[in-house]
Symmetry: C3
Subunit: 425 residues, 3 copies
């Protein structure tokens, strides 16, 4: 059972919290590259781990991510002028470079050196896979760059979106590693919602299910076993890479899908959605479908990252479709089914009231792993999931003989290897 | 004077509060039968006494009212599937019967008996008078069923609606037992707004008023006396039945009206509106008027129980109508005049700032009675208003000789008797 | 540096706070005369220094400003009937005169004298300059009437508006005495937004600026010096009169402009905007421009005092205009640039995080002056800015020889003198 204290610990990621310290040891997806597409484009507000920040791209194309508010008298730099290699506060013209260093205070003589003493909190950024990542931890502990396969494939093989979710990051992430819910919540979308029909989707409809969770150096693999042909098992294998990356088992010809669940503050998160194909470009058809809210992606309110289907419109609940077995819970699309269900638990789920079963083993083990990692970081240890080698993994769906150890038998399928197609049934 | 502590006591009805314990000894109107009209219809969210519940009607027509959130991992059962005699959580398929008993956990073998150990808090329900009532107290203390006359008349003699009110239940209820405000707040509606013209309405316009409050076994009667013909008094007599039922004195040929003010939480309540005729069916004309927001009923925002006239639109204040003596306070309809005035006192009126007069005796006595009842319940005593005999009362308007005791002289008029018309002038 | 405690002290003006006590020693603009234009017109809700009040004009034209809520049972008198020299509560007809004295309780016999004992907190009002002013302090300390020049000129020489601002009064007021921001935030409006072109606007564009702040009996003058022709300086001189009045230096033929920043509560204020000409009537052209949101005035949402450009629409940010140097911060109009910037600091700016420079001297000195005044008032002393003689000042823009003391050389220009035109370059 999770106590209230444990629940607080694993859900709170603001500055100074144990889980916040852990998160600040990883590279974190902060915003889409396209949000600040051009040099000297408008700055963008970003809230991460309860910190209010401003992102901008300077004249030379360098990315800055720093405290949203001017060090002078607290004006939001969202109103700032991004020009000549710096972001200038609109109130009195104080100017900052991408490192947060103040480089001009017009009212003070240059020779006074005044502006040298002014520096905003800022975080190093790197652009990888159409995403701007940041590192918010101690500079001397900055880890190597993230090396997820979706980051490394060619641009035309990748499709990335993000959306807001109105709940704590952990209940969103727990949905991502909880394969058990697929046969219920997403039952009627197993065939229709994946882009290409597959045999795996048919097998997944079976409810005679067994689970195995294996701890890995970077996180966990969760294997879900269903009966296949005589003497065989159909395995759907999910990856979790600490602290918030998940990889969804694929179907047939479909590309690979994954998420990252990044805390905005303790009651909101961003669900990042990654689709990629290890060996070929995504097709126009696939791109068209995903751009229109298909697959794991969703339609957004224009000018925002909020889904069209959301809490304020009761998720466009369609009771007739639910009754007619077109959707299991009355909400359209797999992604919004997950969001709706997770948000319905409240801003921060009270885990002290839960009743868990064996199919929650993945969730239970992830919580323990996160708690231990937070403690380890406090004791000066390096957390798991930082080593880029732990990122080079894949989810898979695979048919294996009965009586084999799935993790050993699927070892190749679970490894990301350049130029090698993924394993999908 | 009411102290802050006393004010807290009589206004707070959440779990574990003294007034909450008192309320949990009564049958409480929870929702309209028509909100869950059919077997296997969509479940409905209900908040009562600060508890978040879900109501549903199963395949056999049985009504369930239980904790809104699944015992597994806290998902709202509002997304649930209501089928095959139970409500199934959309996340992992856990299923509950109308008693809140978990009857299926798909991931666990039946023989494990796992689901037998899972039970949601649930409350017994009964359907009476087109309303689903619930009892939220200790099972061994469950009282006999409510026996108000409006509950017992034939369906065609009754019209029931409900609406949200954005304030604490008590200031709504106090409006219901405060006959003194009628000559002011509702002055210009006395004739126009009742369905049928009556001599009583004319008499009510007189402001030469005297009050008498009599405690009864189930609550109070409030008699308001105005001059009538030589040697006579016109009496308007309101009933209050503990803890929140009021009955409004009738006019001429009009049906009887009453309310129940049921706490949603401490800052919101539901105003239930009951119209009934003891001996004949309501006419098409009456039904038409009431369905369009006439009498004590109001027009609601479609898909909700929120009045069209509400706080966010400043109650559609019409200053010209107020100046022209078409309404006394600028708000249209008697019901919304009450709501507007009561909501304007704030979410919970601070009674420590009041200055009460003799016409507030009914209000004062009701507060004392409620406080005493809360204490009595804590001491193991049975509260008043539980005995169905105390429900069999009526409001009345009646002309009596001067110098008689109105409560004795009107004894027959104040008793509900099947097949006997009510007393109304 | 400002500590958190000091920040609380200078920003909080509710009842019983030190700064609240200071504010309650001054006449305060409460509402526009035109908000209660006629005798017996509808009452208006007013929130001042965190107190909820109701304003009305009685049958004889007298103005009342008193507690919004009826002394009986707390109903808002906004629903009240304003007739026959008093405001009557719509619930039970209690009636109050403009002094808050209860003059009728219909349920009580006149001879009981009951209503004599009921009196709402009320504040004396005076109408001056199209504004209703109130005094909320101890009656025995009521100061002489305000004597600002804009109050005293002929009606046709004055234009007054007000607008809500969603931040603490102090960060709005600090913008008003901070001349340094003009060359940045308002850079591109210096020429276009003043009603008449002037040489001063050209000179103001120069960024070679020096500041001098002089304490005056009623507040401060802030002189800003820029180079003019050989051997001369162009001075722009702002007046601050305690506690919240500012006067903006004029340009060429333009009228004089000023503000008062009046706390609604600690997180909202009213920005009053005053334009006046000391010797002639405002022209139709000027009135037309200002009525349409020009100069220091802004366009409001009909039926409210909220600007059309506001926080909820991200101040209609126009990035293209910002990039094209049409506005410095992307927000249209000088007044809304100030509002946007000030609101972006948060509801109450945390001044403990600031880094101030020499150009903030005016702001720093004003804070110290306010703190000292609050302490002085606690010690029984009279605060500065109460003596009407301190109101008879003007802002000015003036060219002076180098090496003269600007405050002495501009002494005549800084004095309000009936029939004498203001000094403006």
């Amino acid at each position: 059972m999770t106590t209230r204290e444990q629940n607080d610990l694993i859900t709170q990621t603001g500055p100074g919290t144990p889980m916040g310290d852990l998160f600040r040891r990883y590279w974190i997806p902060a915003l889409l590259s396209e949000e600040i597409a051009e040099p000297d484009c408008p700055p963008v507000r970003v809230k991460l781990l309860s910190e209010r920040l401003i992102a901008f791209r300077d004249t030379q194309g360098r990315v800055g991510l720093m405290d949203e508010f001017c060090a002078h008298r607290g004006v939001s730099l969202w109103f700032g002028r991004n020009e000549e290699n710096g972001l200038r506060c609109p109130y009195h013209g104080w100017k900052y470079d991408t490192a947060g260093q103040c480089i001009d205070v017009p009212s003070e003589p240059v020779e006074s050196g005044f502006c040298n003493k002014i520096k905003l909190t800022s975080y190093p950024c790197v652009e990888l896979g159409d995403v701007i990542w940041t590192y918010m931890g101690p500079p001397e502990l900055k880890p190597p760059l993230p090396a997820f396969e979706w980051v490394q494939v060619a641009k035309q093989s990748r499709f990335v979106t993000k959306r807001t979710q109105e709940c704590n990051w952990l209940q969103a992430m727990e949905g991502g590693i909880d394969s058990a819910h697929v046969s219920f919540l997403h039952r009627y979308e197993l065939k229709s919602d994946s882009l290409h029909v597959s045999k795996g989707a048919e097998l997944t409809a079976k409810t005679d299910v067994a689970f195995e969770v294996i701890e890995t150096p970077g996180g966990m693999v969760i294997g879900v076993r269903r009966p296949a042909d005589e003497g065989q098992h159909y395995w759907r294998i999910t990856q979790w890479v600490m602290p918030f990356h998940t990889m969804i088992p694929p179907y047939g010809d479909n590309a690979l899908n994954g998420h990252a669940f990044v805390p905005t503050d303790d009651e909101n998160c961003i669900s990042w959605c990654f689709t990629h194909h290890p060996t070929c470009a995504l097709t126009d058809y696939e791109l068209h479908v995903m751009s229109n809210g298909g697959g794991i992606h969703v339609s957004l309110i224009p000018g925002s990252f909020r889904p069209v289907i959301n809490k304020d419109n009761d998720y466009l609940m369609d009771r007739a479709a639910q009754k007619a077995n077109k959707t299991y819970c009355g909400v359209k699309t797999i992604a919004m089914q997950d969001s709706a269900i997770q948000e319905s638990m409240g801003p921060i789920q009270d885990r002290s009231k839960e009743n868990l079963t064996s199919t929650d083993n993945g969730v239970i083990m992830a919580r323990v792993r996160l708690r231990k990692a937070a403690v380890a970081v406090r004791q000066g240890k390096q957390p798991d999931g930082i080593d880029p080698a732990t990122h080079a993994v894949r989810s898979a769906s695979i048919v294996l003989p009965q009586d084999v150890n799935f993790y050993e038998a699927a070892a190749d399928a679970l490894r990301a290897k350049e130029g090698v197609e993924h394993t999908s049934v």
